[in-house]
Amino acid sequence: MELNIKHKGIIVQNHYPLWKNILIIFIMIVGSIYALPNLFPEKPSLQVAGSRGREIELDVYNQIRQIVSNQGIQVNRAVFKDGKVNLVFESEADQQKAAAALDTDLGNTYTTALSYTPATPSWLTSIGAQPMKLGLDLRGGVRFLMDVDIKTLFDRSYDSLQRFIRDQARQNGINLVSTNYDSKTQTIQIVADSSNDASRLTSYLHQNMPDVQTSIQGPNVTITYTKAKYDQTVNYAIDQSLGILRNRVTEIGVAEPVIQRQGDTNIIVELPGIHDVTRAKEIIGATATLSFNMVNTNITQQQIDANLIPADTVVIANAQGQRTAVFKREIISGTHIIDASAGRGENGGAQVNIRLNSEGAKLISDATKSAIGRPMATVYSEYKDTGRKNEEGKPILRKIDEIANVATIQARLGSSFVITGLSSMAEANNLALILRSGALVAPIQIISEKVIGPSLGAENIKQGLIASVSALALTILLMLVVYRFFGFVAGFVLLFNILLLVAALSILPGTTLTMPGIAGIVLTIGMSVDANVLIYSRIVDELRVGRSPQAALSEGYNGAWTSIFDSNLTSILTGVILFIFGTGPIKGFAITLCLGVIISMFTAIVASKMIFNFVYGSRKVTKLHL
């Protein structure tokens, strides 16, 4: 787009209106400001918070400060805000020492998380500037890829469904020869007494169970879940797994963890800055178990307080601290639970419906023959790291029990039963949630793990910096040699290209810098100069034909535009495909590449033109310094 502006009667080429020049300079300045935080390195820090969301009081804050200074550790900065305490240290050694001291002295009610706090000055943070988040391979830490075992989930679910259908058929007078769950095909195969029975079964199912679909062949009926129900179950299992993992990661004590769904059945857990990977693995993979134990109603409260309890009983407290005596032997455990949902009973009271698998159904049927109307406790157990190690150096885990709920066993129907005695629907919902989460509906397994030691992380950063700076220097040198002054301009705008790229990566949410990301930055250096090369080649062509310098300059930019647009667009599209199919670090590379190319279209074309306009524009020029 040639601007032929008449200025003082002369046709002026190579001129940008004032607003355009100001806008360009403004963008450069803003970009530089937002890139600044990256000059301030991060410092190791500790975040102390109350467990389960409790807030920290001022006296606890003072206690924390006291504990740390007793150890002789100097604190760079201490911030008490929003019920959380953030302590910044000079070195990782200090951070570790303080963490150990706080862990022992503060006890279970508080969690300390290892983290890094950027040392950005406050005037920058107030405008939302922050340094780039560093990925795992630059900071050190561990990355788990976890698989949610959908197959086992459905195996359990179908198994219970199969029993349920059989019971329902019997109750409705439909005669079945056999019901069987085929785990290979994940279908329920039913052979009915006759074709008549088979069609009665299918119509019954159609009416009462919209979640299943049937296919019928003579007396044989095949039953599966509908696709909608299947998808819903999978999504539900993943969401639940995400929730469980989040809770566990909070227990480990890592700030800025990444827990994300990947693909259909996988979850990524990234724990940056973590030092004890074994502990992390144990906690993430640890089982939280659930069990149902009958309450020992023969024990009085005084006996509990005085600790006079018989050998077959154990005293467990609930979240509020109330202690109850329950029999040690559990009736059923959480793994027997398929599903739990809250609802209203016949008399309008809140209750929880629990569905069990075949094994659980048998167990509860045996136990509840005599137990209907008696109180039963739901016990939630977790394995926590005490921080101490046994003689093999393995961490000693402590089993912590908590009573989630004491309720009365009511009716029992086949493979499901109901507990009542809940004070409100809220409590019923809460209990159903705990039952479902404790049951761990689908097992989660670690299928891949990547550990980066922190020293390797620092090494990688150093390498990355050396690579970027050398690439920058060599490219600018090359341009200078071939294109002289124009090459100098290309180098100059290249620097701004990198600056704006760094700024963009810093403020865009969700972007982290990884080694492939650094590769992307270095690649951008090479590719953004391409635009300049195309433009300058064009200008040389025009000069060769004999155009005037002004016209050559202007034509060069115009003519090169289509080439630049086409080639950059294909690069961006390739980057997008890479982003869609790539995982983790590759995504970082794709983002850096795409951003770099887009920004380079701005700096290499518009910014360099502005400079040339300033040097050559609206004057009589005899030669271009090319």
Binding site: L456, L478, G546, R547, I586
Partner: protein, 340 residues
């Protein structure tokens, strides 16, 4: 529409212009107003040799892949890879022998004098493998041996990656096919894709020949090579399109020769600038980016070659004509017109 006259290659040096500069003085001027930086190089005449050369390279690559196979890295086969650092220089074969007593099938290579990379196939791996190996090494080789990084990939994760990588590759090629067909012409897109596939096969061949690890970054690198090679090709196509509109009395073959001659400088220069940065990554990028940078280096060199010699030649040989490069318009009378 076109008089396919043979271009008389008589050059006049220097352009007559009121604005002489160092380029116009050294220019080669042809009858018909074509101005070049150098005499026309008859690329199309030599294309047979180019095909033979590329054919040999392709054949060698296929043989290498068939015979030696691609060394699929950990990401695809599953297993554990760990880097161990020692306090003194060690020999990889020694360590390999020592470890293979407990872990048959282990592979140990030297990353540097005091570092080794240890690979353990998936079926031998347990949750504690990295600690176990560290302890073994500390007991038997060097009490200060420690694991600096460890990565474990289960076989399922590997299979997913292969799928994603293949899909990404296919998507990219399809996308480019469509894009170039729209922006230019389908014959050109065929030529472009041919040169791309040529590049990918040769790069794979080199990796197979030298048994270099193919990992996750490799796929990103291949895609980058594709994206990059296309850039070169587009620059040439763009110039061709422009020239065909400008030069009326010139045959397609001459037009192609002229376009290639004209774009030679810029193609080499853009490849050079990117090559410089990639080679720096190769040397300074650290071991994690080595495969990526190597793939890019080879890819850019081969890609430049194929953009110049293969892409256009293929398009020409599937019957590229001048009409193809012009935009067809159907005017109100239903008659076809060519936009010039």
């Amino acid at each position: 529409m076109s008089d396919e006259s043979k271009l008389k290659e008589i050059y006049k040096r220097g352009v007559d212009t009121p604005y002489p500069n160092r380029f116009s003085k050294k220019a080669y001027v042809l009858d018909g107003g074509i101005v070049l930086a150098r005499p026309i190089t008859h690329f199309m005449k030599y294309r047979k040799w180019m095909y033979i050369f590329s054919g040999i390279l392709l054949l060698l690559s296929c043989i290498a892949m068939a015979v030696r196979g691609l060394n699929l890295g950990l990401d695809y086969t599953g297993g554990t890879v760990m880097e161990v650092q020692y306090s003194h220089a060690v020999q990889a074969p020694e360590i390999g022998e020592y470890l293979s007593k407990s872990y048959p099938g282990v592979e140990v290579t030297s990353a540097s004098a005091r570092e080794t990379t240890i690979r353990i196939p998936a079926k031998l791996v347990t949750n504690k493998t990295s600690q176990d190996i560290q302890k073994l090494l500390q007991d038997g080789i060097d009490p200060e041996a420690h694991v600096t990084s460890a990565e474990f990939v289960g076989p399922k994760a590997g299979a997913d990656l292969v799928y994603a990588a293949t899909m990404a590759l296919i998507c990219t090629i399809v996308m480019l096919l469509i894009y170039i067909s729209i922006r230019f012409q389908w014959r050109l897109s065929l030529g472009a894709i041919a040169s791309l596939i040529h590049d990918v096969i040769i790069v794979l061949g080199v990796f197979a020949l030298f048994q270099i690890d193919v990992d996750l970054n490799f796929v990103a690198a291949i895609l980058s090579v594709i994206g990059y090679s296309i850039n070169d090709t587009i620059v040439v196509f763009d110039r061709m399109r422009e020239n065909i509109r400008k030069l009326h009395r010139v045959s397609v073959e001459e037009c192609i020769n002229i376009s290639l001659t004209e774009t030679l400088n810029r193609t080499i220069m853009t490849s050079l600038t990117t090559l410089v940065t990639v080679v720096i990554l190769l040397f300074f990028g650290g071991s994690s980016l080595y495969i990526f940078s190597l793939c890019l280096t080879i890819g850019i060199i081969i890609g430049t070659y194929s953009s110049i010699f293969i892409a256009v030649a293929c398009s020409f040989d599937v019957g590229l004509t001048k009409e193809d490069m012009l935009i067809r318009q159907v005017n109100k009378d239903g008659l076809e017109e060519y936009e010039r």
